[in-house]
């Protein structure tokens, strides 16, 4: 099972992140200084790394504005980064001043992006039965208490009825 993260390249506007930041301010939360959004996909099935890379580069990434990172992922959590482009936020990764909220649909909830993704993978000539999942990842910068992160996750980013979020 692979996880693909699509990140906005440096120098391009992360509109969705900016929107979330203004929504966070709207909640009266002030110590979040910046939000970056990236989309997440999980591809599961009898699929090779090379094929996953094709999916990431040819389908999921806009070459002009985005980069991708592929991670091997087991059911529970992500593990090491096994492929990435050079300018992916390395500096940011070691910056302690950010937190992450991931949002995924719960199993059984209709996930239409993943349905389209499966069709598009077939168009790429990858004729394998795969399962896919689409999720969202928000990097929040600033000194933020866990309880505040939970508030942001549940009051803004996810509806816990149908989605689950991981905060870390």
């Amino acid at each position: 099972m692979f996880e693909i993260e699509i990140l906005t390249k440096k120098g391009f506007k992360n509109s969705r992140g900016e929107h979330v930041l203004s929504d966070i301010c709207g909640l009266g939360i002030e110590n979040v200084t910046k939000v970056e959004y990236s989309s997440l996909y999980i591809i599961d099935g009898d699929i090779s790394f090379a094929e996953t890379e094709t999916i990431a580069s040819d389908l999921l990434t806009d070459k002009i504005t985005e980069n991708y990172v592929i991670r091997q992922r087991d059911a529970e959590c992500l593990s090491e980064v096994i492929s990435k482009f050079s300018d992916v936020k390395e500096a940011d990764m070691i910056n302690p001043n950010f937190s992450v909220i991931e949002v995924w649909y719960k199993d059984g909830v209709t996930d239409i992006v993943s349905e389209s993704l499966i069709k598009a993978v077939k168009d790429l000539g990858i004729a394998k039965e795969i399962k896919a999942k689409a999720g969202h990842k928000y990097y929040l910068y600033g000194e933020i208490f866990r309880v505040t992160l939970d508030t942001i996750a549940t009051k803004l980013l996810a509806n816990v009825l149908i989605q689950e979020c991981k905060v870390y």
């Binding site: 391009f12 506007k13 389908l59 806009d62 070459k63 504005t65 349905e115």
Partner: protein, 262 residues
Amino acid sequence: MKKIKVLILRTAGTNCDYETQSAFELCGAVVERVHINTLVEEKDKIFEYDILTFPGGFTYGDDVASGKILSNEIKNKLGYEVKKYALSGRPIIGICNGFQVLVKMGLLPDPELFKQISTLSYNDSGRFECCWVYLKTEKKIGSESSCIWTKNLPDVISLPVAHGEGKFISESKDFFEDLNKNNQIVFRYSSKDGGEPEYPLVSNGSTERIAGICNKKGNIFGLMPHPERYVFALQHPAKEGFNSKYGWGKVIFQNAVDFAGQ
């Protein structure tokens, strides 16, 4: 006179095909709306048509990114035919989602290269917006834009836009220099008198306020605004138009039909 045949390529989520058909029909063309699955079965059929159209809509829900899945599908299944068609000089138009498809498969700005070198990204306003805008028709002193689609237009026209991903950008500065040099910029968002617009007259943050471009030859035209929604004066918010009946969008379709008939 020979009837001009127009192919409107549609798929799941295409939704501006009927009004685009009406616009071409108003200009005397015969129009067929063809599903991509049908065309893939009989690829050479594409060469039976004089004009190829990628209409607006939300192909495959704009999932992943707008126009992305369709542009991949075309490249993989019809890439050879579409490139050949484009290089033959026949008119091709991509409107809104169709423009996104043209740019993402790389038919614009350079069909010979046929590689994505620019993109239409999320609006600066951060949301989908539907409103009317002014467009400055780019004309270089001495040499008019080579675009065959935009002859006989006044300096400034208005058209409706409706998109969430219309910010035309590229990674390199040279890219825009080349576009300028080659007269490939066709429409820029503008104010009523052709000057710098303010929000909401421009909401997407396109580089150089670009709303539409063409290839060097001028037969392939892509634009975010919707000319097919302004073929009658009645469709304008204040019912303005020309010959007290038509909207300026009609001229765009008429140009292509006339060109194909030459």
